[in-house]
């Protein structure tokens, strides 16, 4: 249910960057979303569509990149793809693991439309 707040945070940051670059508009916005971040992609899309009218995002396309989980084993150093947190190490069967990726929630890319005479 907090996807709207997160989307607003992404759009605020993107808008600030767009202004700093003297952009006319935003053409695209990419978020990197870990499968284990607990965030629903449809809810992000829904929030974006609801908030974009009348903003620099009016014509922008939202891209959502999913990141699959990877764990590392603190006992033997093995790094492996996993379906869930706490999935045991395939080598030493240990359960002392840490999440390498799959929990992220990031603004990853911003495509701006800028007039040539304004680029610096």
């Amino acid at each position: 249910m907090h996807e709207a707040g997160l989307m607003a945070e992404a759009m605020n940051k993107a808008e600030t960057l767009a202004m700093q670059c003297n952009a006319d508009a935003v053409a695209g916005l990419t978020l990197r979303v870990g499968v284990l971040s607990g965030v629903a992609l449809q809810a992000l899309q829904f929030a974006f569509d609801a908030m974009k009218p009348g903003t620099v995002f009016e014509q922008a396309e939202l891209r959502l990149e999913q990141v699959l989980p990877r764990l590392s084993c603190r006992d033997c150093g093995m790094e492996y793809a996993a379906q869930e947190r706490g999935q045991r190490c395939p080598v030493c069967k240990g359960s002392n693991t840490s999440l390498l990726q799959g929990g992220e929630l990031e603004l990853a890319k911003l495509e701006l439309i800028v007039r040539e005479d304004r680029t610096s």
Binding site: M1, H2, G5, L6, E9, A10, K13, L17, C21, A23, D24, A27, L31, R32, L36, S37, G38, V39, E84, R85, G86, S95, N96, G103, E104, L105, E106, L107, A108, K109, L110, E111, L112, I113, V114, R115, E116, D117, R118, T119
Partner: protein, 231 residues
């Protein structure tokens, strides 16, 4: 002077939780300086967070100086239930927001008299999903699960269980009525949070509360610790 339109691409890795992370770090620094241990309690609605705190604030009041912040979408009910136990209590009503954020905790703590407190409980909004994404700057996160919710909850909400310093299984007075499979629950907790400590309590009968209190004592910063740090 209408120049050609160009596309410009910026590659970023801006965490959407960065704002919250900053506030959480500030909270952590504040608690550390005060020698105050903040413990957040997360569960689904009705698991028994407030009931556990009612008993705790009363039964430990001679021993540990405690305070509590309770988060709910609406109403001051929880704060009222915790009143008159010798502990400062403050309610945060979040309105629409389904979880506490670090900044809300900072504002609440500002309004509270935390001088001399040793333990600060932070009761999160009842929700097993969203609180997982928001660090509050607490020292420990306790995840509570009442047995009426079923044995499979740790598997369904792994992100939160994986963060738990301690899992408190509550309403254990109902084990027989529900024909609850405690062994299965423990296995499911182990699968998602292999390192986490688990205790079983009933805030109704008081069963297991001594284990909870023993754990709380390990969390309290020993007197004089802050001074030692400075030396």
């Amino acid at each position: 002077m209408t120049g050609t339109l160009l596309h410009q691409t910026l590659d970023l890795s801006h965490s959407l939780l960065q704002h919250n992370a900053g506030s959480a770090d500030a909270n952590r620094a504040f608690f550390l300086e005060k020698g105050l241990t903040a413990i957040s309690i997360v569960s689904s609605p009705g698991a028994g967070k407030t009931a556990l705190l009612e008993r705790t604030l009363t039964e430990l009041r001679q021993e540990i100086r405690m305070g509590a912040i309770t988060g709910d979408l609406q109403t001051e009910n929880d704060a009222e239930r915790l009143q008159n136990r010798g502990a400062p209590v403050l309610q945060i009503t979040t309105g629409e927001v389904c979880h506490l954020e670090a900044e809300m905790v900072a504002k609440a703590v500002e309004k509270m008299d935390t001088e001399g407190l040793q333990l600060l409980f932070i009761e999160n909004v009842g929700n097993l999903v969203c609180p997982a994404a928001f660090d509050l700057g607490e020292r420990s996160r306790v995840v509570m699960l009442s047995i009426t919710e079923g044995e499979d909850k740790p598997l369904k909400y792994p992100a939160l269980f994986a963060q738990a310093e301690l899992v408190v299984v509550t309403k254990c007075d109902l084990t027989h009525i529900l024909d609850f499979d405690m062994h299965n629950l423990l296995q499911n907790i182990r699968r998602t949070a292999p390192q986490t400590k688990v205790i079983m309590v009933s805030a109704r009968t008081g069963h297991g509360m001594t284990d909870w209190y023993a754990w709380l004592r390990t969390q309290v910063v020993p007197e004089g610790w802050a001074v030692v740090q400075q030396a």
